[in-house]
Symmetry: C2
Subunit: 427 residues, 2 copies
């Protein structure tokens, strides 16, 4: 019956969807809808050229399920075989340091969004999608909705998100739990095989190293997550354009002092930010907003991507959640012909476990002190490669990850499941 | 990753599940768990022999998805080819009567639960399940939970359901909207091909005719749903054991007066209840209860079947929802190793759209007056067999049905989807 009930509707209705935003959520949804013949317009205030020539947007890793969706959407323009990230290397500081490696099965990949987003915008237009450039304010949501059967708000961290009330039950932070500093650096030797390296330095913050495809091939991204009150805070405050030497000294000092595993791969003679715009400094207060609102006209507006859930970049979940929920929403749009409260609630219910897991997991990692059961779990990983591989691959399946680590009992059961694999990876 | 993360746990953990109840929800769950090697105990106060020799339990139709689950569970002991119900015949009375036929694609089937449940209990025991017969009170939920990793309460309409708070948002009826009288009758010629006949008599109630496999082969069930204040109320009040002739006269009078399409297939010389116990009279207040509660010990108890959602039998949804959610719960039990709040909420979120659709749809049909948009939709069916077939087959997919008919706009879109099939069935 699923065919009978869905297909003729998809053929017959001249549906039209308006998407506000041009990030990964907006573009994956737009490309999916075009792939299925739905009339789709993207509204954005960002020209592809200004994205390409602009400041670094993020350094997000796309995990295997996202790469699979890119294949489905026929936007796998970059060869994963060449840029694939095979492993994740973990280092937890403190009195009892922990180090181990896990594999992404299958590999992940990271691409500079200044390359990625303009190429997807081009593909969207080539495939019959319309892009309208305009200034966007909250009041435009209603105006855009008037021209479409459904409007989706996926405008990243713009103020348009405020149209959707914040969910207090899933937004535990009133202030940013970290300051952020992320840049592309030369003079840092990449690990082999290609590896995401995550360093957790209790009380100070985290450093995540990511081999990322940028304008000159694979470059090394350093993402510093800085705890309030940490000595690392200069990383977020010193401007490399007004004080380039001081900024370089601050980064080198931070690496030498707190992240020696990275520091020992630094070539001091060549080390530095690659291009002035290859740096992003700022803060983010993670939050989850309502899935939908009813506009004054009675129509529904659905939130998507960062507008729905702004997730700290530490665990690399934001883009993967955006892509996952974009295609979920796309399928619901095809499956239905009425975009009413029942539609919106169906979408909300279906995506809730995935989104909340990514958000809850990341928010747990952002606590000032990691919960004991998580440290205990990380502590057994050096002796159990199978467990480390599952934990690493679960970065692509935050719902699975959260079910494995949410509580002490769950972490214990997760460890027990893989107990007889212990040491199998040490040989 | 799904295999890696799930399979070893399923193998390693010696999980044990306790199920309170021995209806279709309890048995489908129990048989599913045994099929996957989970230690399972059913607690019931009903001996299979007393079920077999007792009063008619219901006359529920199993739709195609339920029959498919029975095949999966290897309990398809009855040949659908011989007892399959091909069509549904609709008759709506009132000033502008409507009559039409739709097909179940694929066919449905109905079996007397006095045959069905004891055979499933036997299969459950043959496959290593344990059945404990005992008196059951609410306090026993905690005692049973102490012996298992998870307890599921699926004890039909017993008082144990009261352990789960009623959800006011999904339980619109404070009193039973119908009185019920259902029996197996001889002397009613079945329609051909095998057909469920539903008669809606505005203000009076409904008669649903079901060809059902009982002890002597296919017999004809008459399910009367009686509105408060209707002249049909004697059907629920007159006892056939104390006043057999009066009861027969009341049934014949009801058919002659309100359901002439059935009356004209009655052979007056042989008409009557087949066996004294082939009749059930009573009332049901439909309601939805919470998905789970935390027991005093901290363990979780999950509601299932009628305990979770007691659905009026008019649309034949109860058993199908019970079976659907039983296997959903079974899969979640295999997928997880910790039966905590996160587990319970995952189960609740996953089953919500299906259960609420079946409940909301049935509750809409129970209104004193059918909504105009539904009458309008039924009114176009006589000229559009494709639409009638989808509507009929959707009895097995209440989520699809509800999305098609919940609102005026949706019903209009549903009709429009099939507009160019109009008259195709009339040739």
């Amino acid at each position: 019956m699923s065919e009978q009930n869905g297909t003729p509707a998809a053929r017959r209705f001249r549906r039209s969807v308006g998407i506000i935003g041009s990030g990964v959520a907006a573009l994956h949804l737009g490309l999916f809808l075009r792939q299925h013949g739905v009339s789709t317009t993207i509204y954005t205030d960002k020209h592809p050229d200004s994205i390409a020539k602009g400041r670094l947007l993020n350094t997000v890793v796309h995990h295997a399920p996202t790469l699979a969706r890119e294949h489905e959407l026929e936007i796998d323009f970059w060869l994963t075989a060449e840029i694939g990230i095979q492993e994740m290397s973990y280092h937890v500081g403190g009195p009892n340091p922990i180090s181990f490696v896990g594999s992404f099965l299958p590999p992940s990949a990271a691409i500079d969004y200044r390359i990625y987003l303009p190429r997807l915008m081009q593909a969207f237009e080539e495939r019959g999608g319309e892009i309208r450039m305009q200034i966007l304010r909250i009041a435009d949501i209603q105006l855009i909705a008037d021209n479409h059967d459904l409007v989706v708000v996926a405008s990243g961290r713009s103020t348009l998100g405020e149209a959707f009330p914040r969910r207090m039950d899933k937004s535990p932070y009133a202030r940013p739990p970290r300051a952020l500093c992320v840049g592309l650096f030369r003079g840092v030797r990449a690990e082999e095989p290609a590896t995401v390296t995550i360093n957790l330095e209790p009380g100070q913050g985290e450093l995540i190293e990511i081999p990322l495809l940028s304008f000159d091939g694979l470059e090394q991204a350093l993402l510093f997550e800085i705890c309030p009150g940490s000595a690392l805070i200069d990383l977020a405050n010193v401007s490399p354009s007004s004080s380039p030497d001081l900024f370089r000294d601050v980064v080198l000092g931070a690496l030498r002092e707190h992240f020696p595993g990275t520091y020992e791969r630094v070539d001091l003679s060549s080390f530095g930010l690659i291009r002035p715009l290859d740096l992003l400094q700022g803060v983010l207060t993670p939050l989850v907003r309502e899935d939908w609102v009813r506009l004054p006209s009675g129509k529904i507006a659905v939130s998507l991507g960062d507008v729905h859930a702004a997730i700290d970049p530490m665990m690399g979940q934001g883009a993967n959640v955006a892509s996952h929920t974009a295609l979920d929403l796309g399928r619901a749009i095809l499956d239905e012909s009425e975009y009413d409260e029942l539609f919106a609630e169906t979408v909300a219910t279906a995506r809730r476990p995935f989104v909340e897991a990514a958000s809850d997991w990341t928010n747990m990692m952002l606590r000032r002190e990691l919960p004991g059961h998580l440290l205990e779990l990380l502590g057994v990983m050096p002796g159990n490669r199978a467990l480390a591989d599952v934990f690493t691959s679960n970065f692509g399946s935050p719902d699975r990850q959260w079910r494995a680590i949410a509580t002490e009992d769950r972490a214990r059961a997760f460890t027990a499941t893989w107990a007889d694999h212990a040491m199998s990876g040490a040989s």
